[in-house]
Amino acid sequence: MKNPFDDFRNHRTREREIPLDSIIQSRNKVMSQITKGYEKLLEEEVKELVWLVQYNTVIKAYTLAEKVVKEFEYKAEDIEEFCYELDTTDKIPYLITGPAGIYISALCNYAQEEEITLKLNDLKTQINLLGYRLPVGKKVSVEGNLGDFTGIGMEGGELGVEGNAKNYTGAGMKSGRIRVTKNIGLHTGEWMMGGEIFVGGRVRGLGKIVDGKVYEDEKVIYPRNYRQSNVYY
């Protein structure tokens, strides 16, 4: 019998391209580049699965992260997705909150967008060091809790946290603002050189602050003898 499909013998299968497919494809490509950059950072910085937050290690890690993130293009929403990738998948070998925070900070600092929102409420792990060296003109808003060393070494941007932040928040910051809607841990503003930290809830303890201001529930708690304008005792 004659092949009833003979007319289609030379037809080459070409499935219709759905726009969503190409979006996913390009997203996957970006995510793969971000992940590879993170892996590179880990290879260089975490040789023995231990990483200590020391002045030199942080600077070294950030320098490397800066170099890596400049090599590809990404968008603000890719940063949020990377946070969840870190938290949930086994594609990335290990999550170490320190280098991860440095890397995410570098991503934020070099993102094209001036305002970045990271919805991290569902993240199981609290990321440390987020907001490191946030430059002037950048605004990062985080929904969810953050870990230690949040906003350290800030250079003038604005970091908002709708949730809690842990110890050493704002340590070594030079300028800019940190707003935390809930509570904040110990050593807040350690070696802080300038800028302001606003805390909506409670500050468990202040660090050794050089300069700058810390507010708790709209009241200045550092410097203690600071007199607000139009407030008379």
Binding site: F5, F8, E15
Partner: protein, 443 residues
């Protein structure tokens, strides 16, 4: 002569009829070009050796449009076409339609048939076919289908012929057209009212019928048809007169027509036009919906489609009968002719989509519930054509969603049929099940 020259001549005939003989509004747009469906389909019928049923209110040009097209396309003087027309009425007989015994010779003991003009000339018009009683419609089935006309022990075969039948809407004097007869028509079209302004022009020019008359040619052809020559000889002699009539048309009306050899060349060129893969797959999809039944293997008019079947969203649920094998032939040949007429080198989905409703409208029998749901919808076409257009539109939407998938399924079907070890392509449409059935892979 090239196909472009032939096309120019046919377009010339179309434009001449449009401008001088059959005034109507364009109601069909194909690839940006507007046509009047009755006129363009009649031309395609003539070129294609097809069969067309023309419906419409009395006096709206059903018969005359066919007469004009037949006369100009086949170079037959219009009076010969009038004389050969069969009119449908209850007293019609085989002797008047096909042929009768030569009574003079019969008296001498010799059986010889005097063939009717209707049986002999290539342009056949049956006026008001639905006034023929059902039993008498059967008499012309074979002749209509194959061009074989039999009487007593004699037979003539029309090598080239086309058929136009007109039908009024149902009234007390009409009968239904029997199913085997209706299926033999390739297309159904409506000769519509042209609107008051164009209708006013129709009344203004009442000399239209005279311009295609030529007494000399009429008498010559009449003599040939009446003569006792063999049918082949008659055709040869008639062609010579028709050529002269063609010259007359050229001189008197400035219109160039085509002869037998030209028509053969045109028909051959039309037949050579290939359907592209989309047109091919789309047609298969339509045929699948009109013939598929998951439960009973195929559509049968004696079996009911029950509620709850997975395929209730497809046409197989809304129809009661099965598509005949004449349907794909009608779709293909008319689409080819349309593509040729427009000047395209391949038959695409646009041509198929334009042709399909007119090939389906008279062939589909719809379920009563479906008809009740649709009958009060706003529309611009007779109900049957409206339903067919609606059906084609919905199938085309489905095809648009899965054209690549279907073509892949058919390509994989080709390789499976050849014996390759592959998985057939699945899909949610009857056509994918039919592919599996062809491959013997149905669950």
């Amino acid at each position: 002569m090239t196909q472009d020259h032939y096309r120019e001549k046919i377009r010339g005939i179309h434009d001449f009829i449009k401008e001088n003989l059959y005034f109507n509004r364009p109601d069909l747009e194909i690839k940006g070009e507007k046509f009047n469906s009755a006129l363009i389909f009649s031309l395609l019928t003539g070129l294609n050796k097809g069969k067309e049923l023309i419906i419409g209110e009395p006096g709206l040009g059903k018969t005359t449009s066919a007469e004009y097209v037949g006369s100009l396309l086949y170079r037959i003087p219009i009076a010969i076409i009038w004389g050969a027309e069969v009119s449908g009425h209850p007293e019609q007989t085989e002797e008047k339609i096909i042929g009768r015994p030569d009574l003079g010779k019969l008296n001498k003991g010799t059986e010889e048939v005097v063939w009717s003009h209707f049986a002999q000339i290539p342009v056949k018009i049956v006026d008001e076919i639905n006034r023929l009683p059902e039993t008498k419609q059967s008499m012309i089935l074979d002749g209509v289908d194959r061009g074989n006309w039999e009487y007593l022990n004699e037979m003539i075969i029309n090598e080239e012929y086309c058929l136009f039948a007109t039908a009024n809407y149902q009234d007390r004097g009409t009968n239904t057209i029997i199913a085997p007869m209706i299926d033999r028509f390739d297309v159904v079209i409506e000769s519509r009212h042209p609107g008051p302004n164009i209708a006013y022009l129709v009344g203004k020019f009442n000399e239209k019928d005279r311009i295609l008359r030529n007494s000399k040619a009429e008498n010559s052809i009449h003599k040939i048809l009446k003569s006792k020559l063999s049918y082949q000889t008659k055709l040869r002699q008639m062609e010579e007169v028709c050529d002269d009539y063609g010259e007359f048309l050229k001189k008197k009306l400035g219109i160039e027509t085509v002869g037998l050899r030209d028509r053969k060349a045109i028909h051959a060129a039309i037949s050579r036009l290939e359907l592209d893969l989309d047109a091919n797959a789309f047609t298969r999809m339509l045929l699948a919906e009109l013939s598929f039944c998951y439960k009973y293997g195929q559509k049968r008019s004696i079996e009911n489609c029950e509620e709850g079947c997975h395929f209730t969203g497809y046409l197989c649920h809304d129809t009661t009968n099965c598509a005949s094998n004449r349907l794909p032939t009608s779709i293909k040949t008319y689409s080819q002719a349309l593509a040729w007429m427009i000047g395209d080198t391949v038959v695409g989905v646009e041509h198929i989509k334009a042709i399909m409703p007119y090939t389906l409208a008279h062939r589909i029998q719809w379920r009563e519930e479906y008809l009740s749901n649709k009958e009060r919808n706003k529309r611009d076409n007779p109900f049957q054509i409206y339903l067919a257009k609606d059906a084609v539109k919905s199938i085309f939407n489905r095809y648009g969603e899965q054209s690549e998938h279907l073509k892949s399924a058919l390509a994989v079907g080709y390789r499976l049929f050849k014996g390759e070890d592959l998985e057939p392509v699945d899909g949610d449409h009857p056509v994918y099940f039919e592919i599996k059935r062809d491959l013997g892979l149905e669950d």
